[in-house]
Symmetry: C2
Subunit: 385 residues, 2 copies
């Protein structure tokens, strides 16, 4: 105990700054008196901290409220967190599109941009497209690259903690690519790379179908499905970053390859051909027998994959995302089947973020990184020492 309050004044300053920023966060404007009350710090300490935060651009004085102006005497100065002091990016690097979201330090989205790309695009050209999309987004939003504090990236495959892609079958040249390192050359801020389904899980928890639910499995349903899980509100990456990589599970059942599952002609569908898939879904709804059979095969596969995840992890909620089109027809049969095969069936919901999920989750990861720097202080635990 003594060490914290006596030994390290810079740590104490950091803690006090974090406490004051925490009290300012989410409030439109707070007076010094209110800060003294909510933080338990002395008035001189609060004044010193506010001064330091204002110098670094993180706090600005808020305009006076009309009510204050009418009062007698000098109105109290009020301060707010200066969320515009910096910016964040959330980027999806997908097989068929590059999507970028720009936000301020509070996570408020200021702009977004999506560009379609060919799924056969080589890695270097794909990276070039990412850089181009980001540059265009920054230019359109009038935001200087130097104000970026962190960049989050979501992409298919197993991603190492340093942002290298260990394995990715969806994007050409992606396996072995030091994606984080490559992108860090374009930005002077931290770049955080995450598996796309993991990022989407984070996004649904932040502002989608899983708000308020801390134990969630997000299934990026597709011809080759992937999944991301939150356990106790925290992303579960797995020991090697491969948690939720369920794409090969069906091979064990000696069943048809997924591209054949949804085919009504016997010719496999293209693994990423969403429009062909949407067509099959629509045909199935209209009563076409072959399409209905294809849909049922797809559903059976999805049930199997989701049931495996549910039985292993036992989440409160499963969120189904991926193809936006036609997925609402999947929900009810999935619920019914899971109730048959899972001892404790979870709730099942559709993604609320759709195509925005991966980029939104990537943005949230960048925001988490910045908030950890701004608001977190060392946690003390006697057990752990």
């Amino acid at each position: 105990m003594g060490r914290l309050s006596g030994g390290d004044p810079s740590l104490l300053r950091r803690i006090n700054s974090a406490v004051v920023l925490h009290a300012l966060r989410g409030e439109p404007a707070v007076s010094l008196t209110e800060l003294v009350q909510t933080t338990g710090l002395s008035r001189p300490t609060v004044e010193g901290v506010i001064e330091g935060l204002a110098e670094s651009g993180l706090v600005v004085e808020a305009p006076q409220e009309p009510a204050d102006a009418r009062k007698q005497g000098r109105p109290a100065r009020r301060f707010r967190f200066h969320a515009e002091a910096g910016h964040l990016l959330g980027v999806e690097i997908g097989a068929r599109q590059i999507r970028a979201l720009l936000s301020d330090l509070s996570g408020r989205v200021l702009g977004s941009l999506t560009h379609d790309v060919a799924d056969a695009l080589p890695a270097e050209e794909r990276l070039e497209r990412v850089r181009g999309t980001v540059a265009e987004l920054l230019r359109k939003a009038g935001v200087a690259r130097s104000t970026l504090w962190a960049v989050g990236v979501g992409s298919p495959g197993i991603v190492e903690t340093d942002g290298a892609v260990r394995l990715s079958t969806a994007l050409p040249g992606w396996t072995g690519l030091p994606l984080g390192e490559r992108l860090r050359r374009s930005f002077r801020c931290p770049v955080l790379v995450e598996n796309d389904a993991n990022a989407a899980a984070v996004a649904e928890h932040w502002k989608g179908a899983a708000v308020g639910t801390d134990d969630v499995v997000f299934v990026l349903a597709g011809l080759s499905p992937g999944a991301g899980s939150l356990i106790g509100g925290r992303l579960h990456r797995g020991f090697g970053g491969a948690a939720g990589e369920i794409g090969a599970l069906h091979l064990l059942g000696r069943e048809a390859r997924p591209e054949r599952l949804l085919s009504t002609t016997g010719t496999p569908l293209h693994p990423l051909d969403e429009s062909a898939v949407a067509e099959v879904f629509a045909l199935a709804r209209s009563g076409d027998v072959q399409a209905r059979e294809a849909f049922d095969r797809f559903l059976q596969r999805l049930v199997h994959d989701v049931a495996a995840l549910v039985q292993a992890i036992d989440p409160e909620l499963v969120v189904i995302g991926g193809w936006a089109a036609g997925l609402d027809g999947v929900l009810e049969p999935l619920r019914t089947e899971l109730a048959r095969y899972c001892l404790r069936p979870p709730e099942v919901a559709l993604s609320a973020l759709g195509h925005e999920a991966v980029a939104t989750g990537a943005l949230r990861l960048a925001l988490d990184h910045v908030e950890e720097q701004l608001f977190a202080v060392a946690r003390t635990s006697l057990l752990g020492r």
Copy 2:
């Protein structure tokens, strides 16, 4: 910060007690001077804490070492944690056996007892057998029931946090049984109930095949398999306590029921008949064709179940437990198959604890509970407030 050191003297006393106990733990004997050095507390504080701990029986004076006696002057008094001040139980309530382990407060096992029971035994009689086994163990060890500090219990099924069995297909009358509440009537100390595979996972991490490995899946391989997982060193129970309940997964594959899998005659094996299973394993090793085919069917099922767990969770290590006999023949083919179907194959090892795993894990859970009371202090986190 100020609140901790100034506001609550009883909390400060508790913290100081925890710090001193922590310093004593695992050491044969520690002097006051050494305690002052390792804890950073003042000598009067350490003396006061030691006095209080001695009064409550948790600390005793250690006998003088011969080396001290030879020195001139009064030898330094030395103290040790009095692990014999209390006792813990770890109990497995299985389909075919009741097993109980007794330990002191350091987790050192003082005795164990196992009784076979019929798998058809009704719930009330099974509970009576548990009480009888524990009474016999305590009597043989010469330990008074009043010295029990905590009891851990491992049993098949989905177990609620209050110790009620939500669902169990293995034991008659188990589903819906308020197992924790019923056992608490027999003990005046906390009773912690856990799923058997979960308990076994904890045991292998404590003193088995998973020592030093924090991301582990333990598979209780049987005709109806279950699994327990540690994620980051902590037991993953799932939102509803059903994580790892993979027994129904194979139904989705429309494959044979597990009792038929290992049968060489077409007549299903009894789900719990270990000796019949061991016989099939032995026959398969000796080259019997039908037994070999049955073994291969069993292996394929096991691979599928384990692959599902691995793909969902991505552990560093999978520990295979359950039937002790014949399982070493499973290990190599399991490794080979997992390498084919998992993007990041884990290490695979056999259980080091065998039949002791569940009771050992139950004991560890009781020990965790007591250690949390003795050594833990409130963790502070500004983020969380």
